[in-house]
Amino acid sequence: MLPLELLQTMMARSVLAKEPFVSANLLTAGKADPLARLRIYRNNTRSSLTAVLIAVFPVTVRLVDERFFRFVASEFIRRYPPVESRLARYGAGFPRFLKSIDTLSDMPVVAETARLEWAIAEALDAASLPPRTLAEYDNTDLGMSPDILLQPSLRLIISHWSVMSVWKAHQKATLAEQFGGWMRRPERVALWRSGESVRLILLDRSNFAFLHALKHGFGLEQAISRAVALDPMFDLVSALVRLFGDGLVTDVRVSAHPFPI
């Protein structure tokens, strides 16, 4: 008799359509064919995980047609099944997998759109902390270079392709029909959770660098110097007002690293 762990390994491989398959004489199903019944588990796994991917990547589905998406998703599930039961974490590797598919090599925007959609999925599963206002810090001495803490759901995406334009065009069917198509044009996107949905904005190079530095905890001074290096006319006041206005600042405090890193 097979040890339980080996039996479960063989069953799992059968369910994922990987060899070696489990032998039929180990199984029973009344008068039915046990291998036909085993295929029910295979279908359940494939269809439920495909549904997860369709829910996470709806615009990607529309870009490639649902039948093709299902085919690609099946192969992804077979080769890279989830490693844990939190399905909110399943799909992180899907954009990279799309990049490796030959038939999509002349449509790089597909994998890039999937990358944007994965960032949206991550943001929707992240905390939304109470935002702070500028007025709260009127009489506070925060030193020369305070740390500015941003919403944990904030994600920053830079792409060589017009991914946000593609994504926005597919939020309404009528817009998608009028959409002129994707193009090679760098887009820098900031997105974060706002209640049950996400907000997305396009940023220029300097504002993107500014947010990127703050998000990674480099402090205000570093963030300013990186932004100014890209654009000597970088408008710090506008950038800060917008940060607070968008509810992205969750705390401002004296820097834990008073010297530039």
């Binding site: 339980l4 799992a12 199984l27 039915a32 588990y41 844990e84 599963d125």
Partner: protein, 341 residues
């Protein structure tokens, strides 16, 4: 930082599975629903649903139902996942916590389906060890749910009901009796559903699940698929009738996961479960009263839905109750029941 909620005990009445499309309506309407059950894995992140559940937890008693612990895995439970489940329980302070007699993790993969075990002494040792680990970490009893299965293992040395009874004896866990699962498995694997229910230790059953299933024809094989995608069908109401007649009232959940209908449909199904259960208990009292003046005579419970014709499957069960086809319970099962017991 977790907050402290008022302790809300789950009553021995019907509740509904909370689905994301109903959350907004639940928050605004606050309908009369006995209690709510959520899938633990959907509340392990920090999204908007988690914030909403914290608000609903202030109003409704809560049950947390895990689907991903893989208690039957020979390699043991995933400690990281168990820690996440512990945090969910700490955060929402549910009155009931349950999982499945199944495995879903092997060879480094999570299959997102619940697979059956080979029911033998070695598997029992594995599951008992895993259940004890979970109960130790959560510092509470968990309820273990019977499985809907499409196949079984030729080398099993006991059946699922015997396995569950022994698991209760070894670990002190409770049971979640999924009546739809009993019917689905009994049909697919050709055994008697009522005998299965009767073989379970009644006092350990702390919750019941009710749901619909699909019927698929594959060649000559008619297989029932546990899809939770329709109303509770007549045959499952009949089994529920059998279970309640034997057990007395239990917290009963209406599950619906595929093609989820409007909230009122779920609430309606829950209402029927409550009315059927109350009807059985009323009839039982009358039978006991009659038994006090006449010699009791047990009549087997046989429900027929052949002449049903009604759009409401549960009505046939009511007809049977009105006809008095109820087996009187022994006195020791007639007392009240509390879910947290």
């Amino acid at each position: 930082m977790s907050r402290t909620f008022q302790s809300l005990a789950i009553p021995a009445t019907a509740g509904i599975g909370l689905r994301s499309r109903h959350i907004g309506e639940m928050l605004t309407r606050r309908p009369s629903a006995g209690w709510l059950e959520v899938h633990a894995e959907n509340y392990m992140g920090e999204g908007a649903g988690v914030e909403a559940l914290e608000r609903l937890r202030q109003i409704y008693p809560l049950s947390v139902h895990g689907v991903g612990l893989s208690l039957g895995s020979a390699q043991g439970v995933d400690r990281s996942h168990l820690e996440r489940l512990r945090k969910v329980c700490e955060r929402f302070q549910p009155d009931l916590v349950s999982e499945h007699l199944a495995w879903s993790v092997a060879d480094g993969a999570y299959l997102n389906d619940l697979l059956p075990l080979r029911y033998d002494e070695k598997a029992l040792a594995v599951v008992a060890r895993n259940v004890e680990t979970v109960q130790d970490v959560l510092k509470r009893q968990v309820l273990i749910e019977n499985l809907s299965a499409y196949l079984a293992f030729a080398d099993s040395s006991m059946n699922e009901a015997e396995f569950l009874a022994e698991l209760v004896a070894r670990t002190g866990c409770g049971l979640l009796l999924d009546v739809n699962n009993v019917h689905v498995s009994a049909h697919n694997l050709q055994y008697d559903a009522k005998t299965f229910i009767d073989a379970l230790p009644a006092e350990a059953i702390g919750e019941i699940h009710l749901a619909g299933h699909a019927t698929n024809q594959v060649g000559a094989d008619t297989v029932l698929i546990d899809d939770h995608g329709s109303r509770v069908p007549p045959v499952v109401w009949s089994l529920y009738h059998h279970a309640i007649s034997r057990l007395g009232p239990r917290p009963t959940l209406i599950e619906w996961d595929t093609d989820v209908p409007v909230l009122d449909v779920l609430l309606g199904e829950a209402m029927w479960a409550d009315m059927l259960s109350a009807s059985i208990m009323f009839n039982r009292k009358q039978t006991a009263r009659r038994a006090a003046v006449t010699k009791p005579r047990a009549v087997p419970t046989v429900l027929s839905f052949e002449n049903g014709g009604s759009g409401m499957p549960v009505l046939a069960a009511f007809a049977a109750v009105r006809a008095g086809r109820i087996v009187p319970l022994p006195h020791d099962r007639q007392g009240g029941y509390h879910a947290a017991a």
